[in-house]
Amino acid sequence: MLNLIQNENMKIYRRMRSWILVIIMVGIVILTGTLMKTHQAPIPANWKSSLTISDQSLKNAVTSPNMPARVKSTLELTLKKNEYAIAHNIAPSATTAWGFATTIEQRAIGVLISVFVAIVAGDIVAGEFSTGTIKLLLTRPQSRGRILLSKYIATLLFSLFLIAVTMVASLVVGGILFGFGGVDQPYLYQAASGAIQQVNMVAYLFINYGYNSITMIMIATIAFMISTIFRSSAVAIAISILSLFIGNTLVFVLSSYSWDRYILFANTDLSQYQFGTPVLSGMTLGFSITMLVLYFVVMNALSWYLFRKRDVSLT
């Protein structure tokens, strides 16, 4: 089994494509860092009074009758966070490496990692079919199940590698540009109860990456399954990236239906239970975990069954 995983790894990392993905990733981190550095707003010395002033205008905006409900709730959240900051004497601090890494993960790279993982996962099975090398793999004394498993594990290892590269790159770039200070900085969020709470920024960074990898594993599994079923890299990559982008919108659009909660994408982001309110009311962490496990098992079982069963066609 180790030999097979070693083979799959060789085929991923001996390939230019994988390294181009890594270079793009690091490039984006550097670019974002430079932009943030040059557009950084200075922090006023008397931050409490300036916060109070901006709070006043926020309150006016919230009470305005023609303010849309969604904007209103966002403003109210900012207001609450400001009030919490003043009450707990938490000064808005300059960006640090930790804050930068968190921003990177949340704003851009989080999704991009999933896209890149989808590219590798979508190609790892279908690619062997389109080049005909699948015949080399399947005419050796190894069971098809083991070959598929080794490919799946190699895909997950590649995702881990991408995550590690991104995290290290954003911390290094952030550290160089903004310094490593502020390890004790808090991150403020509104819990499901409506109250503002705080969590350490460094802890938040790691927790966020953790939640994101769940989404990533599911995307990888979708790409992998489609790759196995359709034997076409293009179809697998396209469908999985598409579902990554429209999944959440779909859940939002269909929210009036009671079965909406059974859609995979209503459940992939588990951070909604810790750092916010669930997208659909009435959903619980237990429900989402059950759904994720169910989807995971069904998709992998389908790939496994088809890969073992099907003829390697007469092309």
């Binding site: 097979l4 060789m10 085929k11 001996r14 080049t131 015949k135 005419t139 003829d311 390697v312 007469l314």
Partner: protein, 311 residues
């Protein structure tokens, strides 16, 4: 049979929907034999080979490799097989050596030294550390053969192995296959529609057409069948006169094939030739020469497979 056959096919059948691609194929191949698998395109050669190496399922029947069922004892059977199915598809973005390393890792118990040995065997030492995408088709064939031989299989299955090889390469391959069969007791199964090669390469040939086994015979015997009736050319000054004389005086009927300005061509069995000569000489018809054209394996083959019509 006292000795176990290296490869046994029993009633192997492949049906997809209503179409029967391979129909009830049965034969045995002993160790150390070079076995040719002959048939026109679409006859079911590749389908049969794919079933033998477990790439596709069988509708019926079974394949035994050294007594191991390819389906039920997949690993035991496959560890005895080295194969190239259709083109030697390899990982183009890897070097030749990395390709072999990849294959060696898939078969437990293949030492690294064996990689160097097979590289030398196929004569790729100079280019083995270059990427496969820079290889010519002939070099890819060699690398394909190297990966097939890597784990010392007892059965070597090659689908159209001479594709893309130059004449020297074909000759080299032929010599190597014969040597492997003779010295290492390997059974070699070669499929081809190039008959002239099969004549030189194989001990025995199975002819299949439209999924059915038509004939299994030793190559020499197969060619002997063709010698039963052969085209015989008689060089004469006046073909018209010669023919009419033969029609008058020869008791047996014969088939006239062609008539040219200086010769007549008849299809005759070996026994009929002296009679015709005698008749011509007695009729004082000047005979300048007699030439027989033995049927090639190709003629026999085309005759057996219905002139290569794809059903």
């Amino acid at each position: 049979m006292a000795e176990q056959a290296a490869v046994t096919l029993q009633n192997v059948t492949k049906r997809i929907g209503a179409k029967t691609l391979v129909d009830n194929l049965s034969f045995e191949i002993p160790a150390g034999e070079v076995f040719g698998f002959l048939g026109p395109n679409g006859a079911g050669k590749t389908t049969t080979i794919r079933m033998m190496v477990g790439l596709i399922s069988m509708t019926q029947g079974k394949v035994l490799i050294k007594g191991h069922d390819v389906v039920r004892e997949h690993r035991a059977a496959l560890s005895q097989i080295g194969c190239i199915v259709e083109n030697p598809e390899l990982y183009k973005f890897l070097t030749g050596y990395q390709n072999l390393l990849h294959m060696a890792r898939m078969t437990p118990g293949t030492p690294r030294a064996r990689i160097d040995a097979v590289v030398e065997m196929v004569g790729l030492q100079k280019r083995i550390h270059e990427k496969v995408k820079t290889y010519s088709l002939g070099m890819r064939q060699r690398l394909g053969l190297a990966q097939a031989l890597l784990h010392r299989p007892s059965v070597l299955i090659l689908d159209e192995p001479t594709n893309g090889l130059d004449p020297a390469g074909i000759r080299e391959l032929r010599d190597m296959l014969r040597r492997l069969a003779r010295e290492e007791g390997m059974s070699v199964i070669v499929s081809s529609h190039l008959l002239s090669e099969m004549e030189l390469m194989c001990d025995r040939v199975a002819v299949i057409a439209q999924g059915k086994l038509i004939h299994v015979e030793r190559v020499q015997d197969l060619m002997a069948i063709g010698n039963e009736a052969q085209a015989t050319i008689f060089e004469v000054a006046d073909p018209g006169a010669a023919l009419s004389h033969l029609r008058e005086h020869l008791s047996e009927t014969f088939e006239m094939v062609t008539e040219s300005a200086k010769a007549i061509r008849l299809t005759l069995t070996r026994d009929q030739i002296p009679q015709v000569i005698e008749t011509l000489v007695l009729g004082k018809i000047p005979l300048y020469g007699v030439q027989t054209q033995g049927k090639t394996l190709e003629d026999t083959f085309l005759q057996m497979t219905g002139d290569g019509v794809i059903a």
